[in-house]
Symmetry: C2
DNA sequence: TTACGTGCAAATAATTTGCAGTCCC
DNA sequence: GGGACTGCAAATTATTTGCACGTAA
């Protein structure tokens, strides 16, 4: 069982193109995993699929676990956590710095920043390069700047 | 007992000035608390003292609890958490947005940003106005920008 | 006096870990 | 076949809550 996440060849012209695309993406994913020293197991490919097939996303472990369950991909919550961290280490995901209890993972790897709605803890990308950090501080001796995170906190007008 | 945190008049000219200053700060603190609808109880004043007497600080609840214990101010961890949140609501503290499990509270209320050392999770202020956010994005309709947090992540060179 | 605070211990919430069994190469 | 991966449940860590008692106004 649990082959629900496997791609089945669909009929029709449009669907055919979608299938090729999917096959390509899945292939890419498998390659990436392999390149990062991660075996492309059923669970990892399925979770990767859920993460990367829908464009840029911000997920929590809990949320991804729900989605996997809904998609008939039986994974354990622990595996979701492990996989998210492994993907992050492999450079497929970015962990986002917002406070609040939960950890968010972002599939958008390009340099960009975030809006945070304070009441709901909803998180979304700030489109394009609409934020620019003008001056950067001198890092302390012996340290280098790894990354700059900007969080724009929003509340109702 | 537990009067360890109480201010005892010291001898000497310099010390005398320090005492006046302290008395003043404590008085300010009590007023602030009252203004915010918080009774200036022994615990709140003691914790406020630990927080505000040493200049700008970044503390976690756990750390402040330790300090209080070392200073012979017997408070429970739960009270430390409550107090930190009450102070934050009262505008005496700022909660800082970094990821990682722990929540940091900052006694520096002025607009400023932070360095985060990734391995140790150490946090410190970026001095002065060394960071400038050039362009800010348009907030979505019905929302206003509450605050912008910038975290500059550091790692060893 | 009396409502607001506090301490304690137990409850939650998010995440991690240990280990026995499973699957990919 | 063998080591990497997974699932489960139990362990950790950070924080919150319920409730009896204490204390400032």
């Amino acid at each position: 069982m649990s082959r629900g996440a496997t791609i089945t060849p669909p009929a029709g012209e449009t669907a055919r193109r979608a299938y090729d695309l999917q096959g390509c993406l899945v292939h890419d994913l498998r390659s990436k995993l392999r390149g990062a020293g991660l075996r492309p197991t059923r669970q990892r490919v399925a979770l990767g699929w859920l993460l990367f097939a829908k464009g840029d996303r911000h997920v929590t472990a809990e949320r991804l676990y729900e989605e996997a369950t809904l998609s008939r991909v039986p994974v354990s919550l622990a595996t979701v956590y492990n996989t998210l961290h492994q993907f992050t280490q492999a450079g497929l995901l970015r962990e986002i710095a917002v406070d609040g209890a939960k950890t968010y993972f972002d599939t958008n790897l390009s340099t960009h920043h975030h809006f945070l709605v304070e009441e709901t803890n909803a998180l979304f990308d700030i489109p394009g390069a609409q934020v620019e950090v003008g001056r950067l501080p001198e890092p302390p001796p012996g340290m280098v700047i790894d990354r700059v995170d900007v969080v724009v906190r929003l509340r109702k007008a």
